[in-house]
């Protein structure tokens, strides 16, 4: 009798084992499935006089092969991988906006400045001027289109973020449901393997979007936390998240993940708090990489626009008028803040900013103890302190002046994005070729009795406050005074010169004994003259006003200001790189970011796949192993069936031998 029972129990146990093995084989490719194995337990032996006689086998439970630590690690690594790879993809897109070569933005800038060489060769040729103005228009158009492409990328990233937020919310509510189901069946005594697998898979999917930490609770549910401490799922309640602009800096375009607690203000989570996941990677891309790309492009547009405008206003057009700006640049930049502080950066007064010192970064003005505080350069965190609003107004930080009318409260932060819109709005303003200010406002003449070897290398107006030399006498003939500023040389050695103002009779000496070095620019009154050669005693050079009536229309055949515009190519403007090399530096910077993001993506990819291999080494199904187990349990089943047969035989024998 007991043999029958043992056989029956063994049969059942092996049947369960076979079914479990079949279940494993069936689910070999199911994502997140943890392989189940049968835990057999021997039935308590029965006490008899001859010892404890065993009573067969029981299935104690179906074990879920699962390592909590490895699962958590694998999920976290996948989160990091998702974040890195989405950031790397988007950076490749960003990199494609800044192409190099002969069709890139850098070539447009170089061609524009090089076309001025034709204007220098023939100053009154209208065609050469038209070509230059066309190239300027083209450069402005290219900058606008690059800025537009960046805007498109931002738009598509924002859309992806919104979709991801929706998905996170869906997953969170699914996890909450799973939590509830698991808690409900917990009282049954057996672990709900499939429900647990489903919940783990949901958490793994959630980690693709945002990295989470899981804390198991007593009732079998798992609390899911994002950003370290915000409870996304707690028991069976899920909180929603959304993606929106930061309320700390309204209007600035900085994106944040908002955690919408019911009945309270949303908590803003920035990418640093989020760890990994697609949302974190995209936020990092939008707030850092895209912002840097936009700043680099904007800085180039603003610096080129303002310096060319400045030089153009120094010169004379073909009609003898001072030049008007060539490009439209923003007049002032407002700060973004939630509080009461009002501040702006003035970009219309050329004495308030220095384009050669611009750094491609956003700035935050933090009022620590108003009115004192510090200005933080966000690209690298460098801070500059200020004691009050006048102190802040009086210094130029990276070439910018921050002008506040109202200070903020303690702890208030004001965000400035000086370069964000410069490239999107740059327009070429001069269309008529006569309005290109190619002529110098001053001219130079050597003294006719010079015996030295002085030659004129360069003459241009540099500002900031250009004072034109005085005109000659128009009242008398012969004129009582010739006008202009005369440099009178002494051979030395060392060679020196005096500066004499010939605007009245007798002339007045302005400076004496200035040292002369051939090839070094001499700056007086906002213009600069460079001479080559050695002077003899008594040699003179006279610098006059180009519009002085005694010189007639000579200025129409002068292209000194066009030369000065061309020389802007060699001004160190972008972090020690010259204007013409600025684009190469920009490409390299974006390329380096992209390359390092690619390396990071590869690295996190290999870590994630290694951890996943480790996890599936515990939880995954190996078909060969399952096949072996099939054979094993089949044999055991057969043996158990045989056992039943034998038991039946014994019984039959017993009955037979008893019966008559």
């Amino acid at each position: 009798m007991s043999l029958l029972n043992v056989g029956a129990r063994a049969l059942l146990a092996n049947q369960v084992a076979l079914q479990t093995t079949g279940h494993n084989i069936a689910n070999v490719s199911t994502a997140g499935y943890s392989r189940q194995s049968v835990a057999m337990q021997t039935v308590q032996g029965q006490f008899t006089g001859s010892g404890y006689i065993g009573n067969g086998v029981n299935v104690a439970t179906i074990l879920r092969n699962h390592n909590e630590l490895l699962t958590r690690q694998a999920a976290a690594a996948q989160a990091v991988q998702a974040g890195d790879s989405v950031r790397s993809e988007r950076l490749s897109q960003l990199q494609d906006v800044f192409q190099g070569g002969t069709s890139g933005l850098g070539a447009a800038i170089t061609d524009m400045l090089n076309s001025l060489a034709d204007v220098v060769a023939s100053p009154n040729d209208i065609t050469a001027r038209t070509v230059t103005l066309t190239r300027m228009n083209e450069m402005a158009a290219r900058m606008r289109s690059s800025a537009e492409q960046l805007q498109e990328i931002q738009y598509s990233v924002t859309e992806q973020l919104k979709n991801d937020a929706t998905r996170i919310n869906q997953l969170a509510s699914s996890i909450a449901e799973a939590n509830e189901q698991i808690a409900r069946v917990r009282g049954n005594g057996q672990s709900p393997n499939d429900l647990l697998d489903k919940r783990d898979q949901l958490i793994r999917e959630l980690n693709q979007y945002i990295q989470t930490t899981q804390i198991p609770a007593d009732d079998g549910s798992v609390g899911v936390f994002v950003g370290g401490s915000q409870a996304l799922v707690l028991g069976s309640t899920a909180t929603s998240v959304s993606v929106d602009e930061s309320q700390l800096f309204p209007g600035s375009g900085q994106m944040r993940l908002l955690f919408n607690r019911p009945g309270a203000t949303p908590v803003e989570l920035e990418e640093g708090m989020l760890g990994g996941g697609e949302v974190a990677g995209l936020l990092r891309f939008v707030n850092n990489d895209l912002a840097e790309g936009r700043n680099l492009l904007g800085r180039m547009a603003l610096a080129i626009g303002t310096t060319m405008n400045y030089q153009q206003t120094q010169g004379l057009t073909l009609d003898g008028q001072p030049g008007k700006p060539l490009f439209s640049t923003p007049a002032s930049i407002q700060g973004y803040t939630q509080g009461a502080a009002q501040g702006s950066i003035d970009l219309s007064d050329s004495s308030k900013f220095s384009p050669t010192k611009f750094a491609a970064s956003d700035y935050e003005v933090r009022f620590t103890t108003p009115p004192a505080g510090q200005v933080v350069r966000l690209s690298d965190g460098k801070t500059t302190a200020f004691t009050d609003l006048n102190d802040l107004r009086g210094q130029q930080i990276d070439g910018l002046t921050f002008d506040f009318t109202t200070a903020g409260a303690a702890g208030e932060r004001v965000l400035f994005k000086p370069f964000a819109s410069a490239a999107a709005n740059i327009q070429s303003l001069v269309y008529s070729p006569r309005d290109l200010a190619a002529a110098n406002p001053v001219n130079a003449a050597m003294g006719t009795s010079n015996t030295g070897t002085l030659q004129l290398a360069e003459l241009k107006a540099v500002g900031p406050a250009l004072t034109l030399p005085p005109d000659g006498d128009t009242a008398n003939t012969p004129p009582a005074f010739p006008g202009g500023i005369q440099l009178q040389f002494h051979a030395g050695p060392p060679a020196t010169f005096d500066v004499v103002n010939q605007g009245a009779a007798p002339p007045t000496t302005v400076a004496t004994g200035q040292s002369y070095t051939p090839g070094q620019p001499i700056q007086i009154d906002g213009w600069s003259i460079t001479l080559q050669g050695t002077p003899q005693d008594g040699d003179t050079v006279t610098v006059g006003n180009a519009l002085d009536p005694q010189y007639g229309d000579g200025y129409t055949r002068n292209a000194g200001n066009a030369s000065a515009l061309m020389q802007l190519r060699d001004v160190k403007m972008f972090d020690e790189s010259t204007l013409s090399d600025g684009y190469a530096g920009l490409m390299a910077q974006v390329g380096t970011r992209t390359q390092s993001a690619q390396y990071a993506a590869k690295l996190s990819d290999s870590i994630a796949s290694n951890l996943e291999a480790s996890r599936t080494a515990v939880s995954g199904v190996n078909l060969d192993e399952e096949a072996a187990r099939l054979i094993q349990y089949q044999q055991a089943y057969q043996a158990s069936a045989k056992m039943l047969q034998i038991a039946q035989n014994i019984f039959d024998n017993l009955i037979q031998s008893m019966g008559r």
Binding site: V28, A117, T448
Partner: protein, 416 residues
């Protein structure tokens, strides 16, 4: 059972698929490199090399622009040089005519004919020196001038003006000047050149009184004013057969007259040579037989054209042989001074053209070097590229074949 030796089937396939994808991607990337010929297709492939290639391109395009501008400049200077050549030719013809007009046996009508010929040549000279280049800029316009840099002949003094800014524009390592200093070529500055014209008052036919060329001894002393030497007294000298003469020098601009200078006695039967040193910075000598009341006037010459004009006046309107000889002598001396300046300027123009050639040579070398830099940074070494591609191809093939083979091995195949 330990899990060290376990591998999940699904994970195995996933890992292999990932490797296959990675290999395929690298194969495709290498193919892209081969078809574009570039090792660095995007900046992220090698940011430093991409930046180097971009900078090299910028510099190459700049050299091309500079060369184009240099061609324009070279053309302008070549035209200026040939203009100066034409001017020198005209002045040489004028000189020959002046020499011919100095012949002693000529009648006033002949001299008038010569004067007319010289006049026509002088008009041609004025046209030549006012030439412009293809862009309408005067070739001899110095640092900036009116459309006609040489204005004249004007009534009043001076009779020729340089309507522009004298001076020479410098040349650099990549460009040369586009205009030449016309003032230096054709105008005279008293202190720089010391060119003076001397004229004598009308001398009756039986005497002769001419001057030598006026030479500058100390340029710093030259005032640029006009002077007049008046012979106040000429009479017999101490020794019989000698004559003594006294003269004063008057500065016609300031009106200051010097003290009378007495010439040492000279023989009366031979023409005397009287050296005059009283004019600041200049000396000249008067030869002939002076008489009281004779005057020699010295005027600074403003330009080569004024000298030629004075020659035309002096030769055409010569009252007698003496006046003609005087005019011819002065003209020859001053024309020579002018030609020297023209030749100097022409030599400088030639040197500028040589400089342009040297610059072109340098620039083309630099251009080749920059192209090599760009290629080294950006381009693919074809041999390396093809061998890499073959390797990747073989590796991919091996991965595919092994995947297919491993997949066939399973315990299920051996279970009946």
């Amino acid at each position: 059972m330990t899990n060290f030796y376990r591998v999940s089937t699904a994970n195995m396939y996933d890992a292999t698929l990932r490797n296959l994808n990675a290999r395929q991607k690298s194969l495709v990337d290498l193919q892209e490199n081969l078809t574009s010929g570039k090792r660095v297709v995007r900046a992220s492939d090698d940011p430093v090399a991409a930046a180097q290639a971009e900078r090299a391109l910028t510099r190459i395009s700049r050299i091309q622009t500079e060369q184009r501008a240099l061609e324009v400049q070279r053309n302008a200077i070549a035209q200026a040089e040939s203009t100066l050549g034409d001017a020198i030719g005209l002045v040489q013809e004028i000189r020959q005519l002046v020499v011919a007009a100095g012949g002693g046996a000529l009648k006033p009508e002949d001299r008038k004919t010569y004067a007319d010929q010289i006049q026509s040549l002088r008009e041609q000279l004025t046209d030549v020196i006012n030439r412009k280049d293809t862009n309408g800029i005067p070739l001899l316009g110095a640092l900036g001038s009116a459309l006609q840099p040489f204005a004249g002949p004007l009534s009043g003094s001076p009779d020729y003006l340089f309507a522009g800014l004298p001076g020479q524009a410098g040349s650099s390592g990549t460009a040369i000047a586009t205009t030449l200093d016309g003032h230096s070529a054709l105008m005279f500055d008293p202190r720089r050149d010391g060119v003076y014209q001397a004229g004598v008052s009308t001398i009756p036919a039986d005497r002769s009184l001419t001057t030598s060329a006026i030479t500058a001894v100390d340029r710093n002393q030259i005032t640029g004013d006009g002077y007049r030497v008046d012979f106040t007294a000429v009479g017999p000298g101490a020794t019989p057969g000698t004559t003594t003469a006294t003269y004063t020098i008057t500065n016609t601009a300031t009106g200051v007259t010097s003290a009378p200078v007495t010439v040492p006695d000279f023989a009366s039967d031979k023409p005397a040579t009287i050296a005059v040193t009283g004019v600041p910075g200049m000396t000249f000598s008067i030869s002939g037989t002076p008489a009281a009341g004779d005057a020699v006037t010295l005027q600074p010459s403003s330009s080569l054209m004024s000298t030629i004009d004075s020659a035309i006046e002096g030769i055409g309107g010569a009252a007698n042989n003496n006046a003609a000889t005087q005019a011819v002598g002065q003209a020859l001396a001053n024309i020579d001074a002018g030609m020297e300046r023209l030749n100097n300027m022409r030599g400088y123009a030639g040197e500028l053209l040589n400089r342009a050639d040297r610059i072109t040579g340098d620039q083309s070398q630099r251009s080749i070097q920059l192209e090599a830099d760009r290629s080294r940074a950006e381009d693919l070494d074809m041999v390396q590229g093809i061998s890499g591609f073959q390797n990747a191809q073989v590796g991919y093939q091996a991965a595919l074949q092994s995947y297919a083979m491993v997949q066939k091995l399973s315990l299920f195949n051996f279970m009946s």
